[in-house]
């Protein structure tokens, strides 16, 4: 009888008594790991601005999160790393030359207004980083759309644009469409630049290669599933293909759309935000298709001024996520008609 040393009463709890070991922190850490290649690329192409902006956003987000939880007398939540993720994602959506105080303002907006006022992680309706970006775009329109000061003399196909004035590929396309000019030609060199990230744009969105490496990691770790990114990117591709077939003179090849702007960052890292995207696979597919259509409408409609639609597409779809969830429940076992 070795049992004398045992406590008299044993712990009682509801089943199950075992757990997979998954945790919110681990998910957030995985997202951060997956963003690391894009951060490296960002540093390579945009230099210290990448560190300056990312550092500013992350620190502000974490401090804001801590202060909010304190003020609301809630348990601390900076340990779940979600504020860090928001900071990194927000920074990745900012142009390299943006003044630091604007990044601070955006970060405060993301955490206080978009996240903690709703109740914190899990209760927010909109992706905090994207909502903050929309806020900044309205508040700081000029600095938010100024694309120069890349570390490199970023240039598009020779002669098509002056790197100093700063334009993104999507910006150039939009200008041409609006002016009724011919669409600028994107040579293989430009496409390679789009792929590696040697191009004007937000600091974290330009390198398709780095983002795809991170995406592969997220898929491998099962943090995300293929449904949203494939539906999103697939829709963009099909939409752009149709456009190009119908009107080759006024539209670019579909893969330019895939590699340009914030599509890959958005499709793999923002649209897949668990809290603000649908919970069932069917819902995810609808969500992805919706994101794709809205993105392309914003990008290609002649009357619109804004060249890029990823942020707004995802935000709009965030808004209908509860509806999608309601309409896309799985069939319950035993209810086959």
């Amino acid at each position: 009888m070795k049992s004398e040393n045992q406590p008299d009463l044993y712990m009682v709890s509801s089943s199950p008594h075992t757990h997979s070991g998954s945790s919110v922190e681990r998910i957030m850490l995985d997202v951060l790991i997956a963003l690391a290649p894009a951060f490296a690329a960002s540093f390579y192409f945009f230099g210290l601005n990448a560190i300056r902006l990312t550092g500013t956003c992350v620190i502000t987000c974490v401090v804001a999160e801590w202060l909010c939880r304190k003020a609301m007398k809630r348990t601390g939540s900076i340990g779940d790393l979600s504020a860090v993720v928001t900071g990194v994602l927000l920074a990745f959506n900012l142009p390299p030359s943006l003044p630091g105080w604007m990044a601070v303002a955006g970060s405060l907006f993301a955490i206080t207004i978009c996240k903690q006022l709703f109740g914190g992680l899990g209760y927010n309706v909109f992706n905090p980083a994207l909502a903050a970006r929309a806020f900044m775009l309205i508040s700081f329109l000029v600095p938010m759309t100024k694309w120069s000061s890349s570390n490199w003399a970023t240039s598009l196909a020779s002669g098509a644009a002056d790197a100093a004035t700063g334009a993104t590929p999507l910006g150039l396309i939009k200008e041409a469409v609006k002016a009724g000019d011919a669409i600028p030609h994107f040579g293989s060199e430009t496409i390679m630049n789009l792929f590696t990230g040697n191009i004007n744009g937000c600091i974290g969105e330009t390198s398709a290669l780095a983002l795809l490496i991170g995406a592969a990691y997220l898929l491998f770790r099962k943090v995300i599933t293929w449904h949203i990114p494939v539906a999103y990117i697939g829709t963009v591709f099909i939409y752009a293909s149709i456009l190009h077939i119908v009107s080759p003179a006024t539209s670019v090849l579909p893969h330019i759309h895939l590699l340009s702007g914030g599509l890959l960052l958005g499709a793999f890292f923002m649209a897949t935000d668990m809290v603000t995207s649908p919970i069932t696979k069917r819902g995810m597919l609808i969500f992805g298709v919706g994101c794709g259509i809205i993105t392309m409408v914003i990008r290609t409609v002649k009357t619109g001024d804004y060249p890029e639609g990823v942020s707004f597409a995802i935000l709009l779809m965030n808004a209908v996520t509860p509806l999608i969830n309601r309409g896309c429940r799985n069939r319950v076992f035993g209810t086959k008609s």
Partner: protein
């Protein structure tokens, strides 16, 4: 005999660490008769048996100490020779109080058995059903539903398929596994009796592919049997042993919501139950003991013990080398996914207790649950196609009706959702609470 891969996969499910190697190699050992047994009157689903002995009575092993009380009920037999010392209330593994007959066991003596029915093939089916009822046989996989009732489907529900459930999908547990290896021949006869009673043509022995030795043993034992018989090898996936999921995996049929396996022409019997049917019919021995796996990292010698009902957990632990140096933090009746925790080692075993799991602090973690982050992992894991995250939010908001409207009552409480939840939400606990509220409301509406 034919071995086939399961033709269908149920949706969802999880892959926990199984830890079966702790006890899967341990041959079944008979527990020396404990000095005292405390035999619960409720070891089955339905009305508890009524004690028909009193303190001071001398009882014989196999004699009835609790009478069947209603249609969905079974009698309880004395697992030992001895003297009744008291009839008291005990707390069973599920936490409910029930009457129990305390027996001071004396030296081994004769077992009171019923007359063997060796020529069961020439025996009236109703007589066999009655025998199985009299022997107190219930589903030993966990539900404890009286087997006699299960084997009496109404005329308009013909049964064409009998499935022997040898999945044993709960981590750690190996009692069915050992039974299939060590008592394959008896299980075969039990299965033939079931098939005869139901007039079912098809028989499938469903075993997960992590038990190749059991698959082999059963395939050999069923060699030469007539009719459409095969071992169906299931993917190792929890909850493969759940009746509805298993019927789907084996036959592709979906038990309709609120329905029973007989609605799709199936009857599922656990392998240990099948052995009990054999014992009851062919040998006339009532159900008074079973194999229970005593395992976990807090027990010195994980084992599979053949123990009489009413054995205290303490006796089982002592017979398994006692505790290791790691103190047990949780004592679980059953497996880690659906088992019940108990607070005391005085708890007695019963017909449905297939395992006693002792986990040290290292394996028991207490969590603070966080807000749902809508990751959808519970939705993916749910074998019933529910949205556990949403259900739990309804119940947290005290809206049981809202939860009911999105199929709360279809939850089988398998725990897959809580197992995968990164926010460590006690989803099953929420479901149970919500279901209890709904049941109470339904009961109130009836009166």
């Amino acid at each position: 005999m034919q071995t086939i891969k399961s033709p269908y996969n149920f949706r969802g499910g999880i892959h926990p660490d199984y830890h079966k190697e702790l006890s899967s190699g341990a041959a079944i050992k008979r527990l020396p008769m404990p000095a005292v047994l405390s035999v619960p009157m409720s070891q089955h689903l339905g009305a508890p048996a009524k004690p028909c002995v009193k303190a001071g009575d001398v009882v014989q092993r196999g004699s009835i100490i609790g009478e069947q009380n209603g249609f969905i009920s079974v009698p309880v037999h004395s697992p030992a020779n001895g003297k009744v010392t008291a009839i008291t209330d005990v707390s069973t593994a599920s936490g409910r109080l029930c009457q129990a007959v305390t027996i001071e066991c004396s030296e081994a003596g004769e077992t009171l058995s019923m007359s063997p029915i060796t020529l069961w093939k020439n025996t009236d089916r109703d007589e066999l059903r009655a025998r199985i009822g009299e022997a107190g046989v219930v589903g030993m996989g966990g539900a404890g539903f009286p087997t006699k009732v299960k084997l009496s489907p109404p005329m308009d529900k013909p049964i064409d398929t009998v499935i022997l459930n040898g999945a044993e999908c709960e981590p750690y547990l190996t009692s069915d596994h050992r039974m299939m290896i060590e008592h394959a021949k008896e299980i075969r006869i039990g299965a033939e009796i079931i098939r005869y009673i139901l007039g079912a043509k098809t028989l499938r022995i469903a075993i997960e592919d992590n038990k190749p030795d059991a698959i082999k043993a059963m395939a050999e034992a069923f060699e030469g049997i007539d009719g459409d018989v095969a071992v169906t090898v299931l993917h190792t996936s929890y909850p493969q042993g759940s009746e509805k999921q298993q019927i789907y995996a084996v036959t592709g049929r979906e038990v309709p919501r609120g329905g029973l396996p007989m609605d799709v022409g199936c009857v599922v019997e656990n392998t240990s139950t099948t052995f009990a049917i054999y014992e009851a019919v062919v040998k006339g021995i009532p159900l008074i003991e079973r194999v229970i796996t005593v395992t976990g990292d807090a027990v010195a010698e994980p084992s599979n013990l053949l123990a009489p009902f009413g054995t205290s957990y303490q006796d089982l632990i002592d017979a398994s080398g006692g505790f290791t140096n790691a103190k047990a933090a949780k004592v679980i009746s059953g497996g880690p996914m659906m088992g019940f925790t108990v607070s005391s080692l005085d708890t007695p075993t019963g017909k449905t207790a297939s395992g006693l799991l002792l986990l040290s602090k290292k394996r028991v973690t207490q969590y603070t649950s966080q807000a749902c982050i809508s990751c959808g992992r519970c939705v993916e894991a749910c074998p019933m196609g529910l949205i556990p995250s949403e259900l739990s939010q309804f119940i947290e908001a005290d809206d049981a009706e809202g939860a009911e409207a999105i199929s709360l009552m279809d939850c089988i409480e398998c725990g897959s959702c809580a197992f995968v939840c990164p926010a460590r939400r006690p989803l099953v606990q929420h479901m149970r609470r919500g279901k209890a509220i709904v049941m109470a409301k339904r009961a109130a509406a009836k009166h």
